[in-house]
């Protein structure tokens, strides 16, 4: 839904007309333009934040080293369980990749995607259909732990299976 304010805009434009009568000595004059800012709206109905159930009890968050997108050995066991579960009971899953706050935001978006893709590739190698896996990167936009320190950063470099 878009909010426009045509009346307000017209009124502002009309008010821009230069007024020019005075006896004061003036070399030149400047009239102010209307450049008012209006608000846009997010259509909340399209936001789907319904939680997707994860059928098995294995870890669903996988952590990464700084500036790296290599799966850690300790992630393997849980990912194998998830892959086996998806192979016997196919359903759509979402892999959300994240980065810590260090570095630039768009580069971190790319890094988060690289991490999520690393998890996806591992699962595809285990026989899971690539079509069932959606990869979304949130970069550094959705921290799991707040604070600018090593322990918060290590919690934020992650991929979440949903």
């Amino acid at each position: 839904m878009i909010q426009t304010n045509k009346f307000g805009l017209t009124a502002a434009v009309l008010s821009m007309v230069l007024v020019g009568c005075s006896s004061a000595p003036t070399d030149e004059s400047t009239d102010i333009e209307d450049t008012s800012v209006q608000t846009g709206q997010v259509d909340a109905s399209v936001i789907d934040d319904s939680a997707i159930e994860v059928a098995i009890a294995a870890d669903t968050v996988f952590y990464f080293d700084y500036d790296k997108a290599l799966l850690k050995p300790e992630s393997r066991a849980a990912l194998l369980e998830h892959a086996a579960s998806l192979n016997s009971n196919p359903r759509s899953v979402r892999l959300e990749g994240h980065a810590d706050e260090r570095g630039t935001r768009e580069y971190n978006m790319a890094l988060g995607e690289r991490r999520a893709n690393a998890v996806k590739e591992f699962m595809v190698l285990q026989g899971v259909s690539a079509g069932l896996i959606e990869v979304i990167s949130y970069g550094e936009e959705r921290a799991a732990s707040y604070g600018s320190n090593d322990s918060a950063w290590s919690m934020n470099r992650r991929v979440e299976l949903k």
Partner: protein
């Protein structure tokens, strides 16, 4: 449906100007209070002008309490009164009503040393435009004295993120360059990122996750009309408007990894510009409209590259350090502001495209998102104060710094508008 017509409470508390080094010899200016002739207005125009000039770092101001008189026209000025205070330039002005709801303000810049009027100028507008009038006065004075076009009448776009009742709220805001008159453009429970101004200053492009996935939107500031530009699998990010406003450089990863694309806004046609398995992101246009700068880790670490849009020839520009990213070009077409990692902290640095010289400009850490003012005098960036995201500014010679602290939550991703008039 969210209701957004509520006035947003400003993210700023109070602008704290901290000139750490300043100019060695700031010009001493006095702004005599503007005579209002009975007009009731909330704003103190003289104080806004004074704050603008001081924030540039190139001026210091004679405090009002030291002034011996408050002249409002050149003929009322006794130069001797101002010489003894050390004043180099004096600003006087008076506002009068001219019509229903309209006012005009005649002001003069006086050279105290030479005892002469440098110029007289008239601005006019409504009561709601009083701050516009003040910034216009600042622009004229700054340009007359420094020879550099003033950028006080420009705007900032930025993103705020607040945790409210356990949920994140992201907002895209636009304010005056001094942080005043903040206006909400978009509010969402999902991330908003990477605002980029259209070269005419009338539209913004940005990334919004409101559909559950990242997508690039454009939004008109005046009509608020919005249009979704991309809806691809994977990354849809880093929009950057071309200098002629007809194209947009952006990042898509639909091919498997992030690549730079160019969108023709008239035909809606996408052209792929990079072809590499590395991360290619953060495109920004050279003023010629024929080259892009972007960040790539194709050499092993993120560095800035230059791309010829026609030939696709790509050249690495930065070599010092193992992290140089998110270039923002100054209007001289030669100086880049970028994020540079030095011993595990992230600073804003300037990089000279001709000499290859890289200079760290900031002393903060975790710096992000540098954006250069359209007159090239200052740049703004995002940094951290404690655990909070704040905006800060530094001049391109690193001599002047100030911080815009936020009342609550994080403020991030400033984008300085082009000149608006």
């Amino acid at each position: 449906m969210l209701l957004l017509l509520v006035l947003s409470s400003s993210a700023w508390s109070e602008l704290v100007i901290r000139v750490t080094q300043g100019n060695d010899k700031p010009t001493i200016v006095a702004v005599s209070p503007i005579a209002l002739n009975g007009i009731q207005i909330k704003e103190d125009i003289g104080s806004i002008v004074e704050a603008d000039l001081k924030r540039s770092g190139l001026f210091s101001a004679i405090p009002r309490r030291d002034m011996l008189a408050f002249p409002s026209t050149a003929k009322d000025v006794y130069y001797r009164d101002w010489r003894i205070l050390g004043t180099e330039y004096l600003v006087v002005g008076a506002m009068i009503p001219v019509d229903e709801g309209r006012y005009q303000l005649d002001f003069s810049l006086l050279n105290v040393t030479a005892q002469k009027t440098e110029f007289n100028h008239r601005v006019s507008g409504t009561k709601s435009q009083v701050r516009d009038l003040a910034h216009l006065i600042s622009d004229k004075i700054y340009q007359e004295i420094t020879g550099i076009r003033g950028a006080f009448s420009t705007r900032l776009a930025y993103v705020t993120a607040n945790r409210e009742n356990g949920k994140y709220v992201y907002r895209l805001n636009v304010s005056d360059a001094d942080g005043a008159r903040e206006k909400l453009m978009l509010e969402s429970p999902e991330p908003i990122m990477s605002p980029s101004w259209a070269p005419n200053g009338k539209e913004l492009a940005y990334v919004s996750f409101e559909t559950g996935r990242p997508a690039i939107f454009r939004q008109n500031l005046v009509t608020a009309s919005r249009q979704q530009l991309t809806n691809f699998t994977g990354l849809n990010g880093a929009p950057s408007w071309s200098p002629d406003g007809k194209k947009m450089a952006l990042v898509l990863s639909k091919d498997g990894n992030p690549e730079i694309y160019m969108l023709d806004l008239a035909t809606n046609r996408f052209t792929r510009l990079t072809r590499h398995f590395a991360i290619d992101t953060e495109p920004t246009w050279m003023p010629d409209g024929k080259h892009l700068l972007f960040t790539s880790d194709r050499g092993g670490t993120p560095q800035i590259y230059k791309l010829n849009i026609t030939s696709k020839a790509t050249q690495r520009l930065t070599f010092r350090g193992n992290y140089n990213a998110r270039a923002s070009l100054a209007p001289d077409g030669r100086t880049l502001a970028l994020i540079h990692r030095a011993s595990s902290t992230f600073h804003v640095a300037s990089f000279d495209l001709v000499t290859g010289r890289l200079i760290e400009l900031t002393e903060t850490r975790l710096d992000e998102s540098p954006t250069v003012a359209p007159n090239g005098a200052m740049l703004m960036y995002a940094t951290k104060q404690g655990d909070r995201g704040v905006l800060a500014a530094v001049s391109l010679d690193a001599g002047v710094r100030y911080v815009l602290p936020a009342k609550s939550g994080d403020v991030r991703e400033p984008a300085w508008s082009p000149f608006l008039r």
